[in-house]
């Protein structure tokens, strides 16, 4: 149960991080004096959520994933690990860096009232959302890979 709990926390943090990035994107599109503070808090929240998703997901991957990997590779969907997990685990580093950079872009690259500075934050948010969707989709395929492996036994 603990192992599943760790995995679910990893997924939940990732999903909430993506949702916050979408919220931040919309807030930056409509930036004004009234939502600057919320924009700053959202950028920090996205960074914290992605870093926590990385740490918790990384812990699960390093400590517990080996067993699932063996099941996937012996099953009907070996590419769920050989492709999707391999790509996911390495692209996650980019998402982590984007998440860490986001509050730097928001706090240091003021004022967001200027179009160019706003575009930088919007672009970072968009990249986080796109990569986040890939992470979630790949995670689903990897989970299904385990199911396929167990069904074949």
């Amino acid at each position: 149960m603990f192992v599943q709990g760790v995995m679910m926390v990893h997924v939940a943090l990732g999903v909430i991080g993506i949702m916050f990035a979408v919220a931040l994107f919309v807030d930056v599109l409509n930036v004004n004096e009234g939502n600057i503070e919320r924009i700053k808090k959202l950028s920090l929240a996205v960074a914290v959520l992605i870093v926590l998703a990385y740490i918790i997901g990384g812990y699960w991957y390093v400590v517990y994933y080996g067993h699932d990997r063996d099941i996937i590779k012996a099953g009907q969907w070996p590419w769920a690990h050989n492709y999707f997990m391999e790509v996911k685990e390495h692209l996650f580093f980019v998402m982590l860096l984007l998440g860490i950079y986001l509050p730097i872009a928001v706090y240091r690259n003021a004022p967001l009232m200027e179009k160019e500075k706003r575009c930088l934050v919007l672009g970072i948010c968009a990249l986080i959302v796109v990569l986040g969707f890939f992470m979630e989709g790949a995670g689903g395929i990897i989970g299904k890979g385990v199911t396929m492996g167990l069904m074949g036994r």
């Binding site: 990385y54 950079y101 672009g123």
Partner: protein, 112 residues
């Protein structure tokens, strides 16, 4: 209204993000192609992925401060910085996804 210049840390860490993203993909290819490197990364912190992550984070931080000291904000604006970041992420994505492409045997799915 004319845009004000970028902050030096926003410029420095933005450039670091672009460069480190590409470097991330290069480290991936090197460790997957070279058993000695893979073994060394496993031995360093117990798992190659952990070592890979620590290297990426350290490089990002160090390059961030180095680029910040180079005053890139005098050469780049936010728009150009975003272009570099997007290209860095695209190059990393293409190299990573392309490198493992041979593992993607969708024919296996047809059995189901």
């Amino acid at each position: 209204m004319e845009n004000s210049p970028m902050d030096k840390y926003a410029a420095g860490f933005g450039m670091s993000l672009a460069v480190t993203s590409v470097l991330n993909a290069i480290i991936l290819v090197i460790k997957e192609k070279n058993d000695a490197v893979m073994s060394a990364m496993k031995a360093a912190l117990g798992h190659h992925w952990t070592t890979h992550g620590v290297i990426v984070i350290i490089v990002f931080v160090v390059l961030g401060f180095v680029f910040s000291a180079m005053r890139l904000e005098t050469k780049f604006d936010s728009h150009r910085m975003l272009k570099y970041i997007i290209w860095g992420v695209i190059i990393c994505g293409v190299i990573t996804a392309g490198f493992f492409m041979s593992n993607l045997k969708l024919a296996g799915a047809m059995k189901y």
